[in-house]
Symmetry: C2
């Protein structure tokens, strides 16, 4: 993987760059749609490319390990072949899901023992095992195995957890060095900064992660319930200690305004289930603000869902029709809302990139955020 | 509406034709995907055109009357404008749904009183009201209001029901003659033959319907539980008395082999929820037979869903991936299965048409049916 910095904003720490992987290039800043079990919910691969213009999607190690399992994925020739997505893929390590989804989880130095949320079967994830699984999945960017402490966490809990994540990182790096990619293209590891909401821990973790000299770095454990201002403060601190020459990935963030703020702090990559999950509940992010499409006021609004972005679905379908589909519980409602929200997120980061290159990012961001936040 | 007969099979009563409406032409024999509430479930309008190659879709008067309601539809400028489908639409009259879906229905000479299955509100459908509603919806082909007797029905019940349907037909025709289309394009009424499984009633009903001299005719009340052979017998009888120069529409039928058999009896138009409903349950109709895609045997079958038809989705996605999506309860599974099944139905009637024109329909049909029926 290579990362080339193209431009930096004068009024903020925002930057524009290009990541090059063996499955193609990614223009940063970028938003990555979440395809948990190998499918971005309610969206097909053609729509991801042509309408949403996704450049990279996420998969999840925990989910893909349980279903379809590494045996099937290896037989298919990796996740790209299995799901027909030939652009870059990033896999989350599964650490977060073990703690948020599975049952009877037990954390030891060795790793995390857990029961599947699907059938109750018992499994052990260790840093080594998680590297091996990610070799079998075959994503271009793979994540270190970490523990993501909840918010709020006691200082001592956060410190111990961070140190465990650091020791696990060393084991991830070692295992990865001892193994080869399975499908003939390169895979690169991103370590994860933890440290909860404690400045000294975040600094220590960012320094530790930076010292690992991986090709990109991630910031985890944010957007887990803490106030937005605290997220920005922690993110800014992490960015300060993570090398400028490498992409920075803020995991699981967030709203459109969260993304614009964090771009201005120096973040290059984002993922979040919000556009798809909220979309399925009828909450649309648009170029004019937030729309609750189930609201009766849209029943006879025959204007496009959003004519401010370049997306066939957003331009073609009307608010009245989409509202009707939600009211009638039609599956097409979920598809249209998911496509629109993801297309809007990709539109937003593309616009951000253009303003970084043009040199007026910070001003644009400050004008955009109130518009993005307003309720239509 | 015009209907032009292009070819007739020598070995059967199958025919190929072209229906011309103000929203374009329909090549018969044709299958019409069902878009009950203005959306073909789990399929978008672009996919209907480009992948499925649908030439006409169905809407349902009962559902569209309840949601979004005629007021919204009129404000939109009719269903075509509301749902963005600019090719022909046919609306079912709602008679069948009043009896299968609604509560506390009460049948009188005047019409059918019923309670909405959604909110329990009380409504009265009369032949006049149903014509008015279909004027508001604005389909190209609209159906007469009928009673569809269950199978089995007592002779006397079936006879009385048929006679009521005939009296209602006269009222439909009168009302339609007294009103104008609302959106500047023509609408044409198809009357419906009833008579349950009684030959003398079917003959009487087909003769009554033929005498109404509408531009097309429908056969209702079949595929409601009677044996297949009885359906074919009744259909053949109806076709004998319905004019050759007008399209014949067999309502709610059926499996791929049902369609091929009924084409050979002289039917030109079909609709059925089977491809979408069964698709959502993982049952695929393919060029090699019936596939239960949830079956474990497909877990590592990386061949396309169906490479025997011209449909991107059927050719692009593998059986293994689709099975995985069903096992993981992903929404994309419903979309892929629905698109494939509908594309297969449209492929099948297109092939049928080509064989009718080539003059070898009956032979081809007899070779195809065992293949279509086999379990893969």
């Amino acid at each position: 993987m290579e990362f080339q910095l193209l431009a930096a904003d004068s009024g903020s720490k925002a930057r524009a760059g290009i990541i090059t992987t063996d499955h193609g290039q990614i223009e940063t800043p970028i938003f990555m749609p979440v395809g948990t079990v190998g499918s971005v919910k309610a969206v097909n691969q053609q729509q991801l490319k042509e309408e949403i213009k996704a450049q990279i999607i996420l998969g999840n190690t925990y989910h893909l390990y349980l279903r379809p399992g590494t045996e099937i994925l290896e037989e298919a020739g990796g996740l790209h072949k299995f799901n027909g997505w030939d652009r870059p893929i990033l896999t989350d390590s599964g650490g977060y899901q073990v703690f948020s989804l599975s049952n009877n989880r037990k954390l030891t130095e060795e790793g995390a023992m857990f029961q599947s949320h699907i059938d109750g079967s018992r499994h052990l994830f260790t840093p080594e095992r998680v590297m091996d699984i990610q070799r079998s999945i075959g994503a271009d960017i793979i994540m270190a195995f970490d523990e993501c402490p909840p918010y709020p966490s006691e200082y001592l809990y956060a410190k111990n957890s961070m140190e465990l994540t650091h020791r696990w990182l060393a084991r991830c790096i070692q295992r990865l060095g001892e193994t080869e990619p399975k499908y003939g293209y390169r895979q690169t590891l991103f370590p994860i900064v933890q440290g909860s909401t404690y400045k000294d821990l975040r600094k220590a973790s960012a320094e530790f992660v930076a010292a690992a000299e991986c090709e990109g770095n991630a910031i985890g454990g944010l957007s887990v319930g803490e106030p937005e201002e605290m997220m920005y403060e922690m993110c800014a601190l992490c960015c300060e200690y993570l090398p400028e020459s490498k992409p920075r990935y803020l995991m699981g963030v967030g709203t459109p305004w969260n993304i614009l703020e964090n771009i201005s702090l120096g973040v290059d990559m984002f993922d979040c289930v919000m556009p798809t999950r909220n979309g399925r509940n009828g909450m649309l992010f648009t170029s004019k603000g937030v729309v609750n499409i189930k609201n009766k006021k849209w029943a006879n609004d025959f204007t496009p869902i959003d004519d401010g972005i370049d997306c066939y679905t957003s331009n073609f379908y009307t608010k009245a029709y989409l509202r009707h589909l939600f009211v009638a519980s039609e599956i097409l409602a979920l598809e249209i809302a998911s496509i629109h929200n993801l297309a809007f997120y990709l539109h937003l980061v593309k616009q951000a990139r253009e303003h970084i290159i043009a040199g007026d990012y910070n001003q644009w961001k400050n004008e955009m955020i109130p518009i993005l936040k307003q309720r239509c």
